[in-house]
């Protein structure tokens, strides 16, 4: 089975977010980059599926040279090879087009990615790729098993979950608890250096949106503290000040 896993290169979940150049650029000072947490789940599941069914796992990232350590980490976790599309991921449509061209060429049985990136939280790329290559796309996927040419999976819905069946090939946007994250070991890290990383130029340069500026939420006011014997006052505040009761 040939599996493609799409990974994002995103600021660590604990990063402080700020902007420079009059709120038009993300401030990377002191920011640690990681594989998108949801992508990490897809990668972990892809490696488990390879262990069960044989085949290969390729990772793809749309990004400039600075994403290579993130890609190498995916190789150290167990992907066999990698593709980097050498371009700034300017919007979801642009990224989806790049991934779609890799999917079309590669003859993959399964394309996995995170349900969303943790920077833009768009949750759009899986559906766009699915439509561009005319395959079913399913998200957010919490469980995924393959039997022959059929996948059995479950998807989170508001207040519950849904079980589905779909024939390969298809695209899935994944989330926990699809697999346990895998941590690279020393051997993996050593091997990752030698695994192939193919750098390609973007297939197309079209985008449909343009982010013009950023904004931070207004700072929080001071918290109002109540002691255990002031709960009446708390209820009054919730009722009359916050108007939520």
């Amino acid at each position: 089975m040939k599996i493609l896993v799409c990974i994002t290169h995103v600021p660590d979940t604990t990063s402080k977010i700020s902007f420079t150049e009059n709120n038009t650029k993300f401030d990377t000072t002191g920011v640690q980059y990681i594989i998108g947490p949801y992508d990490d789940y897809s990668l972990a599941r892809a490696i488990e599926l390879k262990e069960q069914h044989g085949g290969s796992v390729t990772v793809v990232n749309v990004g400039e040279a600075e994403t290579e350590p993130t890609i190498r980490k995916a190789l150290a976790i167990g992907a066999d090879d990698a593709i980097r599309i050498n371009a700034h991921p300017s919007d979801s449509f642009f990224v989806a087009q790049q991934i779609a061209s890799v999917v079309k060429e590669g003859g993959y049985d399964l394309v996995l990615m995170g349900r969303e990136s943790i920077d833009y939280n768009g949750g759009q790329v899986h559906g766009m790729v699915g439509e561009l290559v005319n395959m079913p796309s399913i998200s957010p996927v919490m469980q995924l098993d393959i039997e022959g040419d059929t996948a059995k999976l479950s998807r989170e819905i508001e207040g519950g979950k849904e079980q589905l069946e779909v024939k390969l090939p298809f695209i899935a946007g994944c989330q926990e608890p699809i697999a346990e994250w895998k941590i690279p070991n020393m051997r993996g890290i050593m091997m990752a250096r030698k695994k192939p990383l193919d750098v390609r130029d973007p297939a197309d340069n079209e985008q449909m949106t343009d982010t013009v500026r950023y904004e931070l939420p207004p700072p929080k006011g001071e918290v109002k503290m109540f002691s255990a014997d002031e709960l009446d006052a708390l209820v009054q505040a919730l009722k009359n000040e916050a108007n939520v009761l």
């Binding site: 069946e165 449909m208 013009v212 950023y214 002691s227 916050a242």
Partner: protein, 324 residues
């Protein structure tokens, strides 16, 4: 021309987030001098009366694809119906709620319609220089102002971003018969498990969440009672669902459900940054924690330092008393 709003229902009742989509569509129609607001409903579980009622929120017309195969949200089939409805009405704009169905449907329709898609949008667009939407990014830690650079536009609206007000009016309901092929049902839904009668967590106006401080699933009764009293949904922190004290779909945060209620009540939750990421767009946050140094107090509007086992039952009683 028209603006189409996709409405999802849950067992025949239109979801609150979809009503918000209709209200947003109506407000946008005013802003861009568009006269037709068309709501699109799928499946045969939702009644005509329920659909006519969308008139009160600003819809003029409702297209109803009254087909049993659409009772369940098969992503491709939904995308195909929405695409056909946009063509039929000549719509340039589609509004839908960001949801487990809204997101994947929006992205497929964006390709079909060659439409620019704004995800996680929190307010009406700014039209002073193009069509610019404000979206929540970095899991609520920032906003992006994004220009939608195509004639056709799709807006996936964050839940609770706007407050629907009920007006007057009745929408006319028309049957809509899209053509659907087997390929649209490439994925088959074999089973659905839903928690019965609960208020849907992502849509709830008040959420009461418990963390590891509650020490065990057997202690959730007091959380549920407080939630019942407030008409709230219940949530939890990630370790709580990892240990299995609560189901996974209740886990709130960066890797779980994002909520944006009027009031978020956090009991025995430390306030790790990944948890805050799912709740930081709540209007008000009340924290109950025995540790005065818990980081959650920094993000809270109201706080009580104390043992949850003492505070929560008392608070529930006092809220009950205040409701009488």
């Amino acid at each position: 021309m028209a603006i189409v709003a996709l409405v999802e229902d849950s067992d025949g009742k239109i979801k609150k987030s979809s009503i918000e989509a209709v209200v947003y569509a109506a407000a946008l129609a005013k802003q861009i001098s568009e006269d037709e607001v068309v709501a699109l409903a799928l499946g045969n579980q939702v009644s005509s009366e329920e659909l006519e009622g969308l008139g009160k929120f600003g819809a003029n017309r409702v297209l109803h694809a009254n087909d049993e195969r659409l009772n369940q949200g098969v992503i491709q089939a939904y995308a195909s119906v929405v695409d056909q409805a946009m063509n039929e009405t000549g719509a340039n704009v589609l509004i839908l709620a960001k949801s487990s169905l809204g997101d994947p449907v929006a992205s497929r329709v964006a390709i079909k319609q060659q439409a620019a898609l704004g995800a996680n949008v929190v307010e009406l667009p700014d039209l002073s220089d193009g069509f610019v939407v404000k979206s929540s990014i970095y899991t609520g830690k920032a906003f992006a102002h994004t220009k939608l650079d195509r004639d056709k536009k799709i807006i996936a609206l964050r839940k609770n971003a706007i407050t629907p007000e009920e007006g007057e009016g009745k929408a006319t309901v028309e049957a809509f018969n899209p053509s659907l092929s087997d390929a649209d049902f490439g994925a088959t839904i074999t089973n659905t498990e839903k928690s019965e009668g609960d208020i849907l967590l992502p849509e709830a106006d008040i959420v009461v969440s418990g963390g590891r401080g509650l020490k065990g699933s057997e202690n959730w009764g007091m959380i549920e009672e407080l939630a019942d009293t407030l008409g709230a949904a219940t949530g939890c922190s990630k370790p709580v669902s990892d240990i299995g004290w609560r189901p996974h779909h209740e886990h709130v945060g960066q890797t779980g459900v994002k909520v944006s209620p009027s009031l978020y009540v956090a009991v025995g939750i430390s306030g790790a940054i990944q948890h805050l990421a799912g709740v930081n767009s709540s209007k008000y946050i009340l924290v109950v924690n025995q540790d005065a140094e818990a980081p959650f107090f920094k993000a809270a509007d109201y706080g009580v330092v104390g043992d949850a086992f003492e505070i929560v039952p008392q608070l529930t009683e006092k809220i009950k008393a205040s409701q009488n």
